[in-house]
Amino acid sequence: MGTLIFLVSLFITKNYIGYIPALIFLAAVVKISKVPFKFIVKGMKAIVFLLSLSVLCNLFLTPGEPLVSFWKLSISREGIKTAVFMAIRLTFLIIGSSIMTLTTTPNQLTDGLEKGLGFMKVIKVPVHEIAMMMSIALRFIPILTEETDKIMKAQMARGADFESGNIIKKIKSLIPLLVPLFISAFRRANDLAMAMEARGYRGGDGRTKMKPLKYHGNDAVAYIILLLYLAVIIALRVLIK
């Protein structure tokens, strides 16, 4: 859950100063999570391409007073500024989320959500059900992706055309894809509901956990750091307009 806040906070920050606490926070998290530094670097490598692309775009496409210009392209001061800014933001974003995916299984994530938001049960928010829905959604994403692929091929074999035409035509051509996909998704949902019932599922009450989430000292430290970090970010944002 901390990650979520962190990611949002990255978008809140609008200037360089905001990144200093972010950097400190990130370093602290990396240390607590005990993820080897190698892994993080490895994760970074995969997105270098994306990163450089966005840097280039920002570099050339941000309007402003040109510093260097050759051919039709020009680099402006603002361009450099946003490019560097974006690069840092992206890097932090990716390190942040990769730490999460490296340390947390999706189930722990939903469990964490369930527990972290548990206080909302008091105001009748169905926290358990929401967490359950999320974890089921996560489980079915790969299955449905595969199915989309299959239906697409099947429709193409029948002469459906997903590629040509303008946007409206393309959207229209999605109908023969979406209709069977939805039907199949509903059928799956029906089957799954039945299977869950057959295995005695009756909502969150009276349920035990195979892997109960236990908060250790580390987690407490993480929460404190998170709160501190949030406070600093918000303070910065308010103070430096």
Partner: protein
């Protein structure tokens, strides 16, 4: 006492239009009385739409009988207060493995049933380990279900039911979506459970070769039980089976045809070895 017993069980699907008027009634199970003893291996045969799945769902109390009664281990499925006990006693495995695996890690999925039952954590771990070992999937406990083969997924589903410690498992065409290897894996696992753990098995299938080792076979047609008996008895009635649009294993059919042609072969030959042996005797 019988583990599963039905008496004059009838189930009707009632289709209604928007105004709640009855549009049509399909009698999927029609006046079925049967009883299954603990530890038996029962196979249910029947062509598409003969009511097998509907029968299975009434056993697990997913559907409630329109008429008649179903008892699971002595508990009436109509009685709401028995519901969870019934589901823990008679576990159910469905056709499509993808649509019944809930967890994102094999062991988490197997733990789902006991979690629902409110079993304490340490006990869940024990059960998960046991169940996965029983179906030979313990080495895959940390794997993602999406990466498993169909046969493996289906064995995980079975483990998920086993972890609830049922006395009886109902399997509704568990092998219909599997290749021959996957089918063999699943059927072997089920037989092993039946023999080693003494769990009652009710196996619904289209494949004749899967029922050869069953204790008893029921053949269903349009909601009725048309035939009942040991596999050997059933398979010796080739013509009747054909009338019910079912085929017999190839060996059985060959033996049957040879017998018609005048060879003195016994009825209901089930395996190639048996056929070879009887043919040797003929000479």
């Amino acid at each position: 006492m019988e583990i599963v017993k039905t008496e004059k069980l009838t189930f009707e699907y009632i289709r209604r239009d928007e105004n709640d008027n009855v549009e049509g009634i399909t009698t999927a199970v029609d006046n079925v009385s049967l009883s299954v003893k603990p530890g038996e291996f029962i196979a249910i045969l029947g062509h598409n739409g003969s009511g097998k799945s509907t029968l299975a769902k009434t056993i697990n109390a997913i559907l409630h009988p329109t008429e008649g009664t179903v008892w699971v281990d002595g508990m009436d499925t109509m009685d709401e207060s028995n519901l969870w006990n019934i589901r823990n006693t008679a576990g159910m495995v469905f056709q499509n493995p993808d649509n019944q695996i809930i967890g994102q890690v094999v062991e988490e999925d197997v733990g789902f049933g006991p979690e629902n039952m409110g079993v304490p954590s340490e006990e869940i771990w024990k059960r998960v380990e046991e169940s996965l070992k029983m179906v030979g999937m313990y080495d895959y406990r940390k794997a993602s279900p999406n990466r498993l083969s169909g046969g493996q997924k289906q064995r995980v589903s079975i483990a998920g039911v086993l972890a609830m410690r049922p006395k009886c498992i109902v399997l509704d065409e568990p092998t219909a979506m599997l290749d021959p290897i996957g089918r063999r894996e699943v059927i072997n696992a089920v037989h092993e459970l039946n023999i080693k753990e003494g769990i009652t098995v009710i196996l619904i299938t289209h494949y004749m070769d899967e029922i050869v080792n069953a204790d008893r076979v029921f053949v269903m047609d349009s909601g009725h039980i048309e035939m009942e008996g040991t596999p050997r008895e059933i398979f010796s009635r080739v013509d009747e089976l054909k009338e019910l649009r079912l085929s017999v294993p190839q060996v059985t059919e060959v033996a049957y045809e040879l017998r018609k042609k005048g060879l003195s072969l016994p009825f209901g030959i089930l395996t190639i070895d048996e056929l070879v042996e009887s043919l040797n005797k003929c000479r």
